[in-house]
């Protein structure tokens, strides 16, 4: 027995020192960044500031339940949802062909004819550049531009979302497709199948749940973006929030915030259900 005890290794984790080192390094690197961003947590807790914050927050309660306001809130919610959904739908239409063109796993040239290879590579690079261009400008900038061009209203928001989110969806779709096992699709291509058929029969069954959950998450982001674009005149909840804040009606702002919360909850539920269906 004592022999066994003698060879029992020490319980001190040999990795502990290194991990502690990394943690300290991270803190040392982050601290100056916080200073640079004017982040002083202590000022939040100063008594005078706490009092101001307290009175402000107290105004939020209870949320406004005035029937007229609720009617307005319902219309604004629908508008925001419509902007987000129409924007994502258009973005989807833009993204799907780009993603398919950019996906290496569907390259027929990878199994020959070899002289088609540089053409495919060039096309994929061009498509990647297009998706970068699409998503390099934030949707809020597009929205400001379109509001100038086509006037106030949801249409500007829809177009702005379609462009930026089209680029985002294309990038992530092709990355999801490329991270899936390429063998089923390649086997189909090897047996003479076309690219689209290989996508449907070889790649999508592997990647469908990832693609759907990412799309629903992007829809959730689009709802938030639609709210923000409301501040610059695209209508919906953002415009309502703008009015509530500028008009010092915290109770209404509070009701609007509750709707935000409900919308994210909704997106989460949709994603969960769809994933369960596709699993």
């Amino acid at each position: 027995m004592s022999a066994v005890a003698a060879v029992r290794p020490a319980l001190r984790d040999p990795a502990a020192a290194r991990r502690l080192g990394w943690a300290i390094t991270a803190l040392v690197l982050l601290w100056p960044l916080g200073r640079l961003a004017d982040f002083h947590p202590a000022t939040l807790l100063a008594p005078s500031n706490l009092q101001v914050l307290g009175t402000f927050l107290a105004g939020y309660l209870p949320p406004s339940m005035a029937p007229d306001f609720l009617r307005e809130l319902a219309t604004a919610t629908l508008t925001t949802l419509a902007i987000a959904t129409a924007g994502i739908a258009l973005a989807f239409v833009i993204a799907v062909p780009l993603a398919i063109a950019a996906t290496r796993s569907l390259s027929v040239a990878a199994i020959g004819p070899a002289d088609g290879r540089w053409r495919g590579r060039l096309l994929r690079q061009a498509v990647r550049t297009v998706t970068v261009l699409l998503r390099s400008v934030p949707e809020i900038v597009w929205a400001l531009l379109f509001v100038r061009a086509s006037g106030l209203g949801p249409a500007a928001g829809v177009l702005a979302l379609a462009i930026t989110y089209g680029g985002m969806l294309a990038k992530v779709y092709s990355e999801i497709l490329e991270s899936a096992d390429v063998r089923p699709a390649r086997a189909l291509l090897q047996a003479g199948s076309g690219r689209l058929a290989a996508l449907c029969f070889g790649l999508l069954p592997l990647a469908a749940d990832e693609l759907v959950s990412y799309t629903v998450y992007r829809w959730e982001c689009a709802v938030r973006a639609a709210v923000v674009m409301g501040f610059v005149g695209a209508g919906g909840l953002g415009q309502l929030m703008d009015q509530a804040i500028k008009g010092f009606v915290p109770a209404e702002a509070s009701s609007i915030s509750l709707v935000f919360f409900a919308l994210v909850l909704l997106a989460d539920a949709i994603s969960l259900v769809l994933r369960k269906v596709l699993a």
């Binding site: 027929v108 199994i111 020959g112 063998r183 089923p184 090897q190 003479g192 058929a197 290989a198 029969f201």
Partner: protein
């Protein structure tokens, strides 16, 4: 002539040589087994024969065409006539069995039919008949992730049978199956090749299966064909030379448990 390899050599992109000076002529309807130690180049040879790997030296003629002079459309049509049973079944686990089998004819179907079949099976009866040959007809509408590894490989075989290729290639098609099933699956592939007059070239780890089901045996080692003989002339000495240095137990394992095997090894 279904397959004509003329001084074929393959050097992979990383500089490793896989094949050197392969001369192989296979007539229509012929059955050839490729045997040899692992890493000998059997898979590379099969990929050249499948028109999915361009040889770096020599010429490969597949189904009376040089795949590497064809345009994209003609090459696609040629590939649709070549069936390939892979060592690991290339089937997405969340696909239904019927869809996986029907995917065998994607090369022959237009995009419209393919997409319609993706939504609802276009030819469930055809898929069932192909599955019946590998004993899985009743699993038609189940999902592939509910099958065992061996059953999935049989689905892959059913897909290739459904494709009805003129040239049937198989890379270790039964190495994941138990001895009885391996024998039954080979019997089905051989039966297909006989009834359809299709050429059948397969690489096999189990020498006994090769000798039982294939009239002609090609021994491959270090990227060259060491011998290419009728099965009856493959002597134990030749096999010993072919597998010199390889662990013998590995290639004989799948056959050990077969009760009714008669080894023709000592007969010549």
């Amino acid at each position: 002539m279904t397959l004509h390899l003329d001084k074929v050599g393959v050097v992979h992109a990383n500089g490793r040589r896989a094949l050197a000076g392969i001369d192989l002529v296979v007539a229509a309807g012929e059955r050839v087994a490729l045997i040899g130690p692992s890493g000998a180049g059997k898979t590379t040879l099969l990929r050249v024969a499948a028109a999915s790997l361009r040889p770096t030296e020599g010429h490969a003629n597949v189904l009376d065409a040089d795949p590497w002079t064809l345009g994209a459309g003609a090459l696609k049509a040629l590939r649709a006539r070549v069936g390939f049973v892979h060592q690991a079944p290339p089937i997405p686990p969340r696909q239904r069995v019927v869809t996986a089998v029907l995917a065998g004819r994607l090369g022959q179907w237009g995009l419209g039919r393919a997409l319609r079949s993706w939504v609802a099976p276009a030819d469930a009866a055809g898929a069932r008949d192909a599955l019946a040959r590998v004993g899985l007809a009743e699993r038609l509408f189940e999902r592939c992730d509910q099958l065992s590894g061996g059953q999935l490989q049989r689905v892959a075989v059913a897909r290739t049978l459904y494709q009805a290729p003129r040239l049937l290639l198989a890379d270790e098609p039964v190495s994941a199956l138990d001895a009885t099933t391996a024998d039954a699956v080979l019997r089905e592939l051989v039966a297909y090749s006989e009834s359809a007059g299709a050429t059948f070239v397969a690489s096999l780890h189990a020498v006994d299966l090769a000798l039982r089901w294939f009239p002609r045996i090609a021994g491959v080692r270090d990227g060259v064909v060491m011998f290419d003989l009728p099965a009856a002339q493959v002597t134990p000495e030749r096999l010993a030379a072919l597998y010199a240095g390889e662990v013998a137990a590995e290639r004989e394992r799948p056959v050990q448990s077969l009760p009714h095997v008669t080894l023709p090894l000592g007969s010549t």
